[in-house]
């Protein structure tokens, strides 16, 4: 059907439609007074009455803290201080925006940030100047409608019930053709998070049959990368960049592929290029700094860490890594005093046991790399004392880093304890077992290492098998209790955690909903997700858990895996020595 409009003004105007934009609260953020006045004029023309203005990111934050705005129109480029993206990130992280509120990012030209697809916090839409009322109203209406369509999906996403969220995407596509691509993009992301890369791949491939979408091609590359096909992934990311050199996400992915291929020099070069195109990402500058440090490119590392610290000043994503990295750079340049000053700053600005521990590791490294072995040993001893005081151990990567340093400075017992801890918590990860064995070899403890690793693996396997045996023989209560103890002893062992959650869920499936068990199971699963996101079993267990909540409306189609009671995985036979 075709509609003809013939008027003097030639005007089909956007319907103010189902939304009352006049009643909403608006915030305009722009450093240019003329633009603020124009935007205010436009907003008044669409009926707005409550309009606040800010001329800087700082001022915007003050207003955002005071009022919940329904619509924020924020320029990306705000001169000195925070930029628009940083204001958005802080507002979202500090929960200053209600879920229904709309964030429109305004920019003078289509910016790299608007298509980079890498930033975790995306605005609801980008608008390019000059802004007219028609464009504003059309985009507001569309974003509002899209938020309705995604409301339930987002809620399931926040609960990490990725499988249910993916099913909701399918249901919405049938009703809202206009959002089909966004819904399919979301569905693929959800499937990846749910550890279903094959299903995600099908979604991407179907989209790519029609048109070339950078994010879909990059998504395929990510799946290849996760499958260990690093070279194929590298070629895909390279291809995306060849097509559109502004798609920053592909650079970050390309750098990881190159890193996994052992091509650290090339990875560093790619990150440097990405950082040039889009310099205001704390995470990217941090990766660049770490990669440069790894290949010994000290000037590049210094530049990246300095930039990282500078952006961090205005960003909620401020990271302690930049200070620790910068301290290493200073150490390598022989400026021990500056390195120590940075470590002091890190501990002052980022309080917490973990930072104290990591600062001490870095201090040891700085001394060791500058050839001051006496002081390095002293740092090692202090680290050992800290470890004795605190029973909780940091994540695997930090434990390994610590063990390497401790061996290097001549400490023996503490690193052995750390490595055994790592093995117990990752007893079925062959890559990691290999890495740990190599560390033992390097410390001239090869023989002992073999025995220690075998013992740690045996201990973990026994703990798990006993739990599974109890469960299999119908002693569910005892099994649940046993797994609690196992979690105490092996807090980061993925299989123990999964089995524990499975048994808790199973308990509720048989004996009814129990809020305490629900909270416990949820806690275990969220801890798993923190350790390693994107696992299939995680998504399945979350879905099962969510379905136990009383009053939850069950989806019509019965999902595979959902509702079915999967048995806790048993250790296959005796672990190899």
């Amino acid at each position: 059907m075709t509609t003809t409009y013939i008027t003097a003004s030639g005007a089909p105007t956007a319907e103010i439609a189902d939304v009352d934009w006049g009643e909403k609260r608006y915030l305009i953020v722009d450093d240019f007074v003329g633009i603020r006045q124009l935007l205010r004029e436009s907003l008044r023309n669409i009926g707005a009455r409550h309009i606040d203005q800010a001329s800087s990111g700082g001022e915007a934050m003050t207003l955002l803290l005071r009022t919940h705005y329904d619509v924020v129109l924020c320029d990306f480029n705000l001169g000195e201080g925070k930029n628009g993206q940083q204001v958005l990130e802080e507002a979202r992280v500090r929960n200053l925006m209600i879920p229904s509120s709309v964030w429109l990012m305004v920019s003078a030209e289509k910016s790299v940030e608007s298509v980079m697809g890498a930033a975790e916090h995306q605005p609801d839409a980008y608008i390019i100047k000059p802004i007219t009322e028609g464009v504003l109203l059309t985009r507001l209406n569309r974003v509002w409608h899209k938020k309705q369509v995604f409301r339930e999906i987002d809620a399931a996403y926040i609960e990490k019930d990725y499988l249910r969220a993916a099913k909701l995407c399918d249901a919405q596509v049938a009703r809202h053709k206009v959002h089909e691509i966004d819904l399919m993009r979301m569905k693929a992301t959800l499937l990846l998070k749910a550890g279903e890369p094959d299903k995600a791949r099908t979604v991407y491939e179907r989209l790519l049959e029609e048109r070339e979408y950078n994010w879909a091609r990059t998504g395929l590359g990510k799946i290849r990368l996760a499958n260990g096909d690093h070279e194929a992934a590298r070629q895909m990311f390279q291809g995306v960049i060849g097509e559109n050199r502004y798609y920053i996400d592909a650079y970050d992915q390309l750098a990881s592929a190159l890193g996994l291929l052992g091509r650290h020099e090339d990875a560093c070069e790619v990150l440097a290029k990405a950082a040039k195109l889009s310099p205001n990402s704390v995470q990217r500058q941090r990766s660049l700094g770490n990669t440069a440090l790894r290949i010994g490119n000290i000037p590049q590392a210094e530049h990246a860490f300095r930039k990282c610290i500078a952006i961090g000043e205005y960003s909620i994503n401020r990271s302690v890594d930049a200070y620790l990295g910068m301290a290493r750079v200073c150490g390598q340049k022989g400026d021990i005093k500056e390195a120590l000053r940075l470590l002091a700053t890190a501990q002052r600005d980022f309080p917490g046991e973990l930072v104290a521990l990591r600062s001490k590791i870095t201090e040891g490294l700085v001394y060791h790399e500058s050839g001051d072995f006496r002081r390095a040993r002293k740092s090692g001893d202090e680290l050992e004392a800290m470890l004795e005081k605190e029973r909780k151990r940091p994540q695997t990567a930090t434990c390994i880093e610590m063990a390497i340093l401790l061996f290097a400075v001549g400490v023996k017992d503490a690193p052995v304890e750390l490595l055994c801890h790592v093995i117990r918590n990752n007893h079925d990860n062959p890559v990691l077992l290999d890495e740990v064995q190599k560390i033992f070899d390097k410390a001239r403890m090869g023989e002992e290492g073999i025995a220690l690793i075998a013992e740690a693996r045996r201990e973990a396997a026994e703990m798990m098998n006993k739990g599974v045996l109890l469960w299999k023989t119908g002693k569910l209560v005892e099994a649940v209790e046993w797994m609690r103890e196992a979690r105490e002893r092996l807090p980061d062992n993925m299989r123990i955690l999964f089995n524990s959650a499975q048994m808790l869920i199973n308990h509720m499936q048989l004996h009814g909903y129990d809020e305490a068990l629900m909270i416990e199971a949820n806690g275990v699963l969220m801890h798993v997700d923190e350790l390693a996101a994107g696992q299939q079993r995680f998504a399945q267990l979350v879905e099962q858990l969510q379905m136990l909540i009383p009053g939850r409306i069950q989806s019509d189609e019965e999902g595979e895996g959902a509702g079915a009671t999967a048995a806790p995985a048993e250790e296959a036979g005796e672990p190899a020595a």
């Binding site: 409009y5 030639g10 003329g34 298509v115 464009v135």
Partner: protein
């Protein structure tokens, strides 16, 4: 990968200058629009009124040229532009194009006719296509007598978007430029060439199952004058 982005400092300086210029032109255009829009009938009889309308037209040209220049030549000689296709109802596209040109056309007493299937959905980069169409309308303001027509229709699986006027038609030099640019020749001898080149780049970026978009210029369109046609796969 090759890289010719030049020094980051120069790039940052240029980016912030551009940001400033864009702001100034936006304010200039916006203020003129507000003044023209709020003018009462007796004020419209004032000789200053058409002069102000002409100022708006020139501001728009300046703004378009600056934007196209930037989009195309962030790197000398290398057309690059972030591209992000999305599904858009034709109604939304029409609303936004019309809102960009409404006041200019009213103040110049030019009638805009629109014929489009409002419910049709198509996938394209909305900002780029709005930019191309609004520029085509601005261009038509120069050639038209008093009518401009925007036609959007699906034809043979492609989306055809055209802007036609009832003027004398394009001069031969423009038609020739249109043909050359349409064939992929980099035709940039005058400022009209820039707009055409930008439009052809936008068309080329849109691809569906290996088929790309095209542009063409012709005379004797539906209103008897010139006609600019953008075809998207």
């Amino acid at each position: 990968m090759d890289d010719h982005t030049g020094s980051p400092e120069l790039f940052m300086f240029l980016a912030s200058t551009v940001h400033d210029m864009k702001n100034s032109i936006s304010v200039l255009g916006g203020t003129l629009e507000n003044l023209l829009d709020q003018a009462r009938p007796e004020q419209q009889a004032d000789p200053a009124y058409p002069q102000m309308a002409h100022m708006l037209y020139q501001t728009r040209r300046l703004s378009d040229n600056l934007m196209q220049l930037l989009a195309l030549y962030k790197e000398v000689g290398k057309p690059t532009y972030p591209f992000e296709p999305n599904t858009v109802p034709v109604r939304d596209l029409v609303q936004q194009v019309v809102s960009q040109v409404r006041i200019l056309l009213e103040s110049k007493q030019i009638t805009l006719e629109v014929e489009a299937p409002p419910e049709l959905l198509w996938t394209f980069d909305e900002d780029l296509v709005i930019g191309v169409l609004a520029h085509a309308v601005n261009n038509a303001v120069r050639y038209t007598r008093d009518r401009i027509r925007l036609d959007i229709a699906e034809r043979d699986g492609m989306l055809e978007l055209s802007v036609a006027d009832n003027g004398m038609g394009f001069p031969p030099s423009m038609l020739e430029a249109g043909t050359l640019v349409g064939q992929g020749v980099n035709f940039l001898t005058n400022s009209s060439g820039l707009g055409l080149f930008f439009a052809s780049e936008v068309a080329r970026m849109h691809k569906r199952r290996q088929v790309g978009g095209t542009i063409r210029l012709e005379n004797g369109g539906p209103l008897g004058g010139g006609r600019f046609v953008l075809t998207l796969p």
